[in-house]
């Protein structure tokens, strides 16, 4: 096989077929994909609703501490379905490849996707490949679609219609690791790998909470914009108030250190393996215990609650006992000296 991607790999001819066969079919191997039909034909499931999502992944660098663009694509898509209470089953993956991309790097990304999909119990059943001229994309971009099934009783989870005052807000672990892992590898600033992306598929974690009978009212993954942004969005959407305790928001020391150095607010930094879960007050301790007993929630914490005070706004009780309001992030955070 050639060492780098060329325009010929995208042209549909022999080279393209070889790439599809040797890389994508080889690593994404499953019964549906191997049929190589133009559309994947999927078994129907009675009594279930369908949940569907789509995403594009353009992260730079494509390999970062704790993950890569492929793992991110699989986890991100799975999590979008899982936080709606759905069980992710199938993914599609389309690739836009830059002419000159090392095929070795592509294989590494595809292997990573395969491993993650396998671990999460989902199948990658359809895909596409295009090649663009050198300089027209940054190494590779991945677009995904995810499909899952949703038990009708979990339908309210995605809208949060049942959220009410007194409900508790939990998070499954420390914030800001993903965003700061990317920043640290981009800037070339840090010289140790002390900050790793938290990129992870949380479907198993979420299912375990749902199956234990916790009446989950709402979930969101705290990706771009960070924890504070999704809380602000939730407060706005529900018209209720949110109160959060700074002391209870988990963060690891090295991540906090880098945030302080560059002037980033960790509450606004992206995560890729963190969700907020809103549950009835009476169930919060049980939910916390269940989370902490799962590998993806060992540092889970109850961070706050829904309130009728300050409708539509998120208030943070600061570590020193003061209060401040958290708005949404506008624009990306950049390293600053001031």
């Amino acid at each position: 096989m050639k060492k780098t991607i060329t325009l010929a790999h995208g042209s549909g001819g022999k080279l393209a077929h070889k790439l599809i066969h040797d890389v994508f079919m080889n690593y994404f191997e499953n019964d549906i994909l191997l049929k190589q039909t133009d559309s994947a034909i999927l078994p129907g499931i009675e009594g279930m609703q369908l949940a569907m999502t789509t995403d594009a992944y353009v992260v730079q660098p494509i390999f970062f501490p704790g993950g890569d663009i492929g793992k991110l694509a699989v986890c991100g898509t799975i999590n979008d379905l899982a936080v709606a209470g759905a069980e992710p089953l199938y993914l599609t993956a389309s690739f836009v490849l830059e002419e000159g991309l090392h095929i070795e790097d592509l294989i590494r990304v595809v292997q990573s996707m395969s491993a993650e999909a396998h671990k999460a119990g989902v199948k990658i059943v359809a895909g596409d490949t295009k090649v663009v001229n050198h300089g027209q994309c940054d190494k590779l971009y991945i677009t995904t679609t995810g499909l899952g099934t949703l038990k009708p009783e979990f339908a309210p989870i995605s809208t949060g219609d049942e959220i009410k005052s007194g409900d508790a807000i939990l998070i499954n672990g420390p914030v800001a690791n993903h965003g700061m892992a990317i920043v640290s590898s981009r800037e070339g600033l840090t010289v140790n790998g002390s900050i790793q992306s938290d990129c992870a598929s949380l479907n198993d974690f979420i299912q375990s909470i749902l199956e234990a009978g916790i009446h989950v009212k709402f979930m969101r993954d705290a990706t771009r914009g960070g924890l504070a942004t999704i809380l602000a969005e939730t407060a706005q959407a529900t018209g209720l108030g949110i109160e959060i305790n700074e002391d209870h928001i988990p963060i690891t020391e090295p991540t906090l250190g880098l945030c302080e150095l560059l002037g980033f607010d960790p509450l606004y930094v992206a995560n890729e393996g963190k969700i907020i879960m809103i549950v009835p007050e009476a169930e919060k301790e049980k939910a916390l215990l269940l989370m902490q007993n799962h590998p993806d929630g060992s540092q889970a914490s109850i961070i706050g609650e829904i309130t009728t005070d300050h409708p539509g706004a998120v208030v943070l009780n600061t570590a020193i006992g003061g209060q401040t309001v958290l708005g949404m992030l506008s624009g990306e955070q950049l390293p600053r000296i001031c």
């Binding site: 800037e187 600033l189 602000a232 706005q236 108030g241 560059l262 002037g263 607010d265 005070d309 300050h310 409708p311 539509g312 706004a313 998120v314 208030v315 943070l316 009780n317 600061t318 570590a319 020193i320 006992g321 003061g322 209060q323 401040t324 309001v325 958290l326 708005g327 949404m328 506008s330 624009g331 950049l334 390293p335 600053r336 000296i337 001031c338």
Partner: protein, 368 residues
């Protein structure tokens, strides 16, 4: 490093807040002149802990906020020249010039790189010998020595492709300008990191000539609260002294080595402060011996006259005369996604800090 355990911090913080409440009787206004203080105060929710008769206002201590339009317009003009790399601190990317920002120009394809240190600009110049690297040097006395180091290194290495566009400024002239405005301020929290370099004595003129107390403050919540307590004490007793709260890094005379390096490369000159106008000996210009690194010398381009939005009252906000809600543009057309004036651009500008953290004892209005 943690000087205190989290428990000790909580205890000391509570004690300090209690002491402020016990001691403070007179309604007073305290000014902090450092964007870092503005941010720290808002983030920690300090106004919500103080008695309501203590008012905290922000002065012109955000170097981004006081950078004039001409500087941004010039940087943008340079960015559009061929074979140029602009190296800038992230703070400057979204500052509006007359028409656009560096962010906008980057989107057009200009080579603009966010750096964390002047030494990174030096590295870029070394790595791209066929390009000219222009470093946008903003910041006060804290940051200027670093720029000076980079320039001296470049000279040692005989580099001819690094240029610096200096917007470095000095704090005392700005403080003097505020004092001369006669705004009713009862005490100052002085910038702790500027004083780390310069020494606290640069602010001795304030108690001596203006009979107002000054406390050089650190940036942790406890530091700021201790500084407020020390100011309240002086004010209640009718005293006016210069005190250092931030003793663990600030001395009377400062870092002499850093001062020496700064003075080797830079000399004070008059410069334009957004909101304050021209202040004598308030900016740092690159000295003649290093003029080959001065972007203004190497690229003496005419920049079209600048245009400020007439309704923008950033100047009065920077002087502490008005607060963000007083501005007709605040939250109407001026907000963090679309800043008109510099006070909204910088995350530590008074307007953005107010918008994000909602200053007035957390009145819980809905964020839109």
């Amino acid at each position: 490093m943690d000087i205190y355990t989290p428990f000790q911090i909580k205890q000391l913080t509570q004690q300090t807040v209690d002491k402020i409440h016990a001691l403070s009787a007179k309604p007073i206004t305290l000014m902090e002149v450092c964007g870092g203080h503005t941010m720290a105060i808002q983030k920690a929710g300090i106004p919500s802990l103080l008695p309501p008769h203590i008012k905290l206002i922000s002065g012109p201590g955000c170097p981004v906020c006081v950078t004039d339009l001409e500087y941004i317009d010039r940087a943008i003009t340079y960015a559009r020249l061929p074979h140029i790399i602009i190296a800038t601190f992230g703070d400057l990317m979204r500052v509006p010039g007359s028409n656009e920002t560096l962010y906008d120009v980057k989107a057009e394809g200009a080579d603009i790189r966010v750096v964390y240190s002047a030494l990174e600009a030096l590295r870029l110049a070394r790595d791209y010998p066929l390009k000219k690297v222009i470093f946008l040097a903003i910041g006060f006395e804290t940051t200027a020595p670093g720029t000076a180091v980079a320039i001296r290194e470049a000279q040692l290495m005989n580099m001819d492709n690094l240029m610096v566009l200096s917007a470095h400024k000095l704090m005392p002239p700005a403080m003097e300008a505020i004092l001369q405005e006669g705004i009713p301020i009862h005490g100052y929290l002085a910038p702790g990191h500027v004083c780390t370099i310069t020494g606290a004595d640069i602010f001795q003129f304030i108690p001596q000539q203006y009979h107002l107390p000054v406390v050089v403050s650190g940036f942790e919540s406890l530091d700021i609260l201790q500084s407020i307590l020390l100011l309240v004490y002086q004010i209640e007793k009718g005293q006016s002294r210069l005190e250092i709260q931030y003793k663990r890094v600030v001395s009377d005379a400062g870092n002499k080595k850093a001062q020496g390096i700064l003075n080797d490369v830079f000399e004070p000159q008059a410069c334009w402060w957004r909101g304050l106008g021209i202040l004598p000996k308030s900016g740092l210009k690159i000295k003649h011996a290093y003029k080959s690194f001065d972007a203004r010398e190497r690229l003496p381009m005419e920049i079209p006259p600048t245009q400020e939005n007439e309704a923008c009252i950033c100047g009065e906000i920077l002087k502490g005369l008005k607060t963000p809600p007083d501005c007709p543009l605040y939250k109407t057309i001026c907000h963090p996604d679309h800043p008109i004036g510099a006070c909204m651009v910088s995350s530590e500008g008074a307007c953005q800090a107010h918008y994000r953290y909602n200053q007035s004892s957390c009145n819980h209005e809905s964020q839109t």
